[in-house]
């Protein structure tokens, strides 16, 4: 039991900081650049990605166990994980339509963007490749969602400051934000103890 809790905590932290979805794997970069325009959308997106990664990772662990038993190759297992995400997404949509139809109308676009994106799918594939335990898989999923939300906040703050700065015309918009994310990525790479290869 204690071992499972420790694994859960360690992998949550790993996914949040050491293997941050945005800064170390560039996952959900396109969505981050589209959605970091308003604070409300940012938190809604981050929250729903966290819910999606956590719930899908639970289902994907079961799928990973059975597909490995059946001897499926990596590509087929990825399709199975995508099916898990789609099932969770459809169940969440159905639950929201039945319980909170008004909120669903407002959130359906964000929900769709947060379900079918590379951060959710990527975290499930990584958990499967590493063959984590159930606690580890859920922890990694939760950490990915929280880590992505934190990185989106950093991008949002940076983007706001960059908009007020005197940036050359050709660098305005997407180019300067990508360079900013790159510098943050390098900083985090150094912060977690890596050294640049020589």
């Amino acid at each position: 039991m204690l071992n499972s809790i420790l694994t859960f905590v360690a992998l949550t932290f790993t996914a949040m900081v050491v293997e941050n979805a945005l800064f170390s794997r560039a996952l959900a970069t396109s969505k981050a650049l589209i959605l970091v325009r308003s604070k409300k959308e940012l938190f809604l997106f981050g929250g729903s990605v966290t819910v999606m990664t956590t719930l899908s990772s639970l289902l994907s662990w079961v799928a990973n166990y059975f597909t490995r038993q059946l001897g499926w190759n990596f590509q087929l297992r990825a399709v199975a994980f995508l099916c898990c995400i789609c099932v969770v997404y459809q169940v969440l949509c159905a639950a929201m339509v039945l319980k909170w139809p008004k909120e669903y109308e407002q959130l359906k676009d964000i929900l769709s963007l947060s379900a079918l994106n590379s951060a959710v799918f990527g975290s499930l594939i990584i958990s499967s490749m590493q063959n984590y335990s159930l606690a580890g898989t859920i922890g990694y999923g939760l950490g990915t969602g929280i880590g992505l939300t934190i990185s989106l906040i950093l991008v949002y703050v940076g983007r706001k400051n960059l908009a007020m700065s005197n940036v050359p015309k050709v660098f305005k918009g997407l180019p300067i934000v990508l360079i900013y994310i790159g510098i943050l990525s390098l900083a985090i790479y150094g912060l977690i103890g890596h050294q640049l290869p020589s």
Binding site: F23, S24, R25, A26, L27, A28, T29, S30, K31, L33, I34, F74, Q75, L76, A78, V79, L82, C83, C86, Y89, Q90, C93, K108, S112, L116, N117, S118, F121, G122, I125, I126, M129, P168, K169, V170, F171, G173, L174, P175, I176, V177, L178, I179, I181, G182, I183, S185, L186, Y189, L196, P197, S198
Partner: protein, 217 residues
């Protein structure tokens, strides 16, 4: 001047998705794949094949059958169909190199949820004729492939000192070029370059036309 601007716009619309409105450099789509999948030319070619194999057929499906699929199921259907296509395409792609999927890691499978596919099917294919949708899919796939192949060539040569796995003579080898941070910065520079080039072309066109008018007078 109006006529030459019209010609410029026509030229731009003919190359829409390839040079003008490039999905990666201008649209900011499929960035994870462009940043992480461009560490070698082999990877870029494999991802380009995957892009053509998923985007083009799905644009056709979206334009012909998209309206008959309920709105909340559409994206799910497209993504699952793309994943199934990627499964089939993995066999020919595996022949490029035995270790290609180890080298690509998670990024080959992520082509199923790439934003070019989701964005173009939603915004363009549903309202376009099948032929126009397929042409748009081809243009966007070509634009994506061009960008990732150029990035991959530069990163492989500078980062590994090889091209297509074969050693090439370079003045300096910098392995840091293969890290994600450089991918972000390099792509940012490429985006700025594309934007600058577009501005330059437009301003040169206007200047030449003005000079021509003055000489005529």
């Amino acid at each position: 001047m109006k006529k030459s601007l019209k010609n410029y716009r026509e030229a731009m619309s003919r190359t829409r998705g390839i040079f003008a409105q490039n999905p990666v450099l201008i649209g900011g789509l499929a960035l994870p794949i462009a940043i992480m999948g461009t560490t070698s030319l082999m990877n870029a070619v494999a991802l380009s094949i995957a892009a053509f194999a998923t985007i083009v057929p799905l644009m056709l499906v979206a334009s012909t059958a998209g309206k008959y699929i309920p709105l909340n199921l559409r994206r799910t259907c497209y993504v699952l169909l793309a994943a199934a296509i990627l499964c089939g395409v993995s066999y020919p792609i595996g022949k490029i190199s035995p270790g290609i999927f180890d080298s690509l890691g998670i990024y080959y499978s992520l082509m199923a949820v790439n934003t070019i596919l989701l964005y173009r099917t939603e915004t363009y294919a549903h309202h376009a004729s099948p032929l126009a949708a397929v042409v748009d899919g081809l243009r966007n796939s070509l634009g994506f492939s061009l960008v990732i192949c150029v990035m991959a060539i530069l990163r492989e040569v500078v980062g590994k000192g090889t091209l297509w796995g074969r050693p090439v003579q370079t003045a300096i080898v910098l392995p840091s070029v293969l890290l994600p941070f450089f991918g972000f910065i390099f792509l940012g520079m490429c985006c700025a370059g594309a934007k600058g080039l577009s501005h330059l072309m437009k301003s040169r066109l206007i200047r030449d036309k003005l000079r021509g008018n003055m000489q005529g007078e």
